[in-house]
């Protein structure tokens, strides 16, 4: 087993700074779901990790803890995360505008 980043949706959706999406060295790995916070009444969406692409460097953890000061990201064993987003399940909006956000379909590892 190995460690991957796991983002707390509630903490993330409360602020939605999007710093982790900008600082991740891997492309198409930390994605942003605009609808993630809607169910819980948050104004914003939240970031999530496509775990099959995460190399476990924990740069996002440092950025979230020290730059954003939100402490929303933890490194966790991949088999202990309940719902994980996989790249093959990630779909994008129909419209080609950049304002359309990723729409993840989460599945079990």
């Amino acid at each position: 087993m190995y460690l991957v980043a796991n983002i707390d949706t509630e903490i993330c959706a409360a602020t939605s700074c999007k710093l982790c999406t900008q600082y991740c060295p891997e492309a198409n790995t930390i994605l942003y779901d605009n609808a993630a916070g809607e169910d819980k009444g948050f104004k914003y969406g939240a970031a999530y990790v496509a775990v099959d692409r995460c190399k476990g460097c924990a740069q996002c953890v440092w950025v979230c803890d020290n730059m954003a000061k939100h402490n929303a990201i933890k490194m966790e064993m991949i088999d202990q995360i309940g719902n994980t987003a996989l790249t093959e399940n990630v779909t994008y909006g129909e419209k080609t505008s950049s304002a359309v956000l990723a729409n993840p379909v989460r599945g079990q590892m």
Partner: protein, 296 residues
């Protein structure tokens, strides 16, 4: 291939490669995207074999997002870590023999201008400090002296990271490395100074701990290289393996190094300022109004 002048016959788009369709439908081709929108669109860069937590990878990722017209951009690289990621992108990548990248880019730029005339086709060289300041030094400088219109980006990790940690011209003086156990004897090369002397129209240093600044610098460099002249960006992209930086401390190191010895700097000629302000609306380069004369 530009979407502006190559259109697919309706109904035949589905026969294009999926990678290309993804870039058109969900990626940045034909649209304006920015670093602040990442995570909401499919990026050009894909999975790559570079080390976990590599700052160079982060810089390459940000740079590719920042290209003003990615569908009209060709990247050129050479041996080194960077090419492992740059080649895994959905835009053409040309691999020059070690050190040849600026020579290859010169020919490529001229050929594209002959073939496509005034349609902008951007050529961006991204290579390491070894490929650019040591082995490709002559070709790099000559391309600048010849005023070849393309962008040169040095991925400066201050070591030959791909081959076990030999010192490069860009390594700092006295730095001890695995393959330089007595420490480097000479100063770090002043490539920025040489770029200015050789006639680059835009020269900047940047560290990837400020993604929006990276985006801004890359955009300006590519735009200036279209019409005005060569542009050069020197980016500090630490090697966390050879410099033993824990992966979760890479950005902390970048911040320290930026404060300490790799401060953001930007040099731009008056001609390039005028070009950016007139054609692309860069207000910071508009001529400042003359100060009002104070009455006695």
């Amino acid at each position: 291939m530009s979407l502006d002048y190559v259109k697919f016959t309706p109904g035949f788009g589905k026969f294009m490669p999926k990678e290309y369709r993804d870039m058109v439908e969900h990626g940045p081709f034909g649209k304006k995207t920015s670093v602040s929108q990442v995570g909401t669109f499919k990026e050009i860069l894909e999975e790559h074999p570079m080390c976990a937590g590599c700052a160079m990878t982060l810089f390459i990722r940000l740079a590719i997002i920042a290209f003003p017209n990615p569908e009209d951009t060709i990247t050129v690289g050479t041996a080194g870590c960077g090419r492992l990621a740059i080649s895994q992108a959905a835009i053409p990548f040309v691999y020059g023999n070690y050190g040849d990248q600026n020579g290859v880019a010169s020919g490529l730029t001229r050929g594209l201008r002959l073939r496509f005339g005034d349609k902008p086709k951007d050529v961006v060289v991204m290579a390491g400090d070894g490929g650019m300041a040591d082995i490709g030094f002559a070709q790099t400088l000559h391309s600048w002296f010849r005023k070849e219109k393309f962008t040169t980006i040095m991925l400066d990790n201050e070591v030959y990271g791909n081959t076990g940690g030999q010192e490069s011209g860009m390594t700092n003086k006295n730095q001890v490395l695995k393959m330089a156990p007595l420490g480097k004897k000479f100063e770090k090369m002043d490539m920025l100074g040489m770029a200015k002397v050789a006639g680059c129209a835009y020269v900047a240093t940047v560290v990837p701990n400020n993604p929006r600044r990276v985006e801004s610098v890359i955009k300006k460099a590519v735009l200036v290289a279209r019409e005005i002249g060569p542009s050069y960006i020197q980016a500090y992209t630490s090697c966390n393996i050879e410099y033993a930086i824990p992966t979760d401390k890479v950005m902390e190191d970048a911040k320290t190094v930026e404060t300490d010895r790799y401060k953001f700097s930007e040099y731009i000629t008056d001609e390039a300022k005028e070009y950016l302000s007139q054609l692309y609306g860069y207000k910071e380069y508009l001529p400042k109004p003359a100060a009002a004369v104070t009455k006695q």
